[in-house]
Symmetry: C2
């Protein structure tokens, strides 16, 4: 693994600080202390605290998009693509918990100008998921659910794991991802109960 750069240390330490204390309550002095730098040493790397938050959010969304796109690219089958995406998203999440916690919990602290590019990246992710869902529906393999509602339901499931899941508990990480796939792709109700009586097909 390449050695971490000084600015990499600043970003990683800032993400951990913002994730635990919140952006508003975190100070540059605290960050300097935790990163083992002086305050001027921090300001050598960034203009202000908001620039740090902005960089963390952009990096988080860029990195997330990159891995989920790779997860999707491995197949042409929409269901397999969504499985690849869920696996890539959760893996990224567990590798960068502070970065994603800062993105999802603190990006509201960005000024409108700095929030815009982050929202644009989120929109790319939304469009990626809706595109897969629409393609699955076009092929008749996905049900006719509203793609936007279905996409945000997926994001909700993936992005709230930290709030309740403990990887040291009885459900391992791979099992968790498998269960989330089952719930999201398969739904709760037994398939045989879902088939509605149909009128005789014209032949």
């Amino acid at each position: 693994m390449p050695r971490e750069t000084r600015s990499g240390t600043v970003l990683r330490t800032a993400a951990a600080l913002f994730a635990t204390k919140g952006f508003a309550a975190a100070s540059v002095s605290q960050l300097a202390r935790r990163a083992g730098l002086s305050k001027p040493g921090i300001y050598y790397h960034i203009r202000d605290k908001e620039e740090l938050l902005f960089t963390i959010c952009v990096n988080a969304m860029t990195g997330l998009l990159e891995v989920v796109r790779a997860g999707v690219a491995a197949s042409d089958d929409p269901a397999v693509q969504l499985r690849g995406l869920m696996k890539a998203h959760t893996t990224y999440h567990w590798r960068h918990p502070d970065t994603l916690a800062t993105l999802f919990g603190q990006m509201g602290c960005l000024s409108p100008e700095r929030r815009r590019p982050v929202v644009a990246l989120e929109r790319e992710y939304l469009d990626l998921v809706r595109g897969i869902i629409r393609e699955g529906q076009r092929r008749g393999v996905f049900r006719r659910v509203e793609p936007t509602v279905a996409a945000f339901s997926l994001f909700a499931m993936l992005n709230t794991i930290d709030g309740w899941y403990d990887p040291r508990g009885r459900i391992g990480r791979d099992d968790l991802v498998g269960e989330l796939e089952r719930v999201y792709l398969g739904g709760l109700v037994e398939p045989t109960r879902k088939r509605r009586p149909r009128a005789a097909a014209p032949s």
Copy 2:
């Protein structure tokens, strides 16, 4: 509708303040101004700011549990029970947006002693949902997904609506609830694709 009591006004105003500014950043002076009271007037009703947050969280969870239990009680069919619960939960959410935003976003600011009763109420809700899921599985109408993962997936879908959904947009509230039901209960994949080839049944 009965006239709001003074302490009701304080709680409602505090929930709106905490939901928008966050508990840490909100001051009792701001609350007094917004509620049209003096600071001593606020302290007549509460001991400290944390007691307010505690009361809001307990009331929110108690109220939510009451309506979802009523939504469940209307049927003995687990799928219908979950539909009733989702309808009741979202309706409560839209009637008390600040209260639930404060509960879900700020309860981490409570001291461990004051968080405990709120967590116990959340646990009651979790057990209610898991109970319905297990009963559905026992009857063979629900698939064998992990009940805890399935329950938190449902909470994730229901509790993140505010982050993306705009009721003034093209999807009405009733349609949204219907779509969430379809995604959660039915899953994304077409039922006919879910049936696995089975060995010939003994006859």
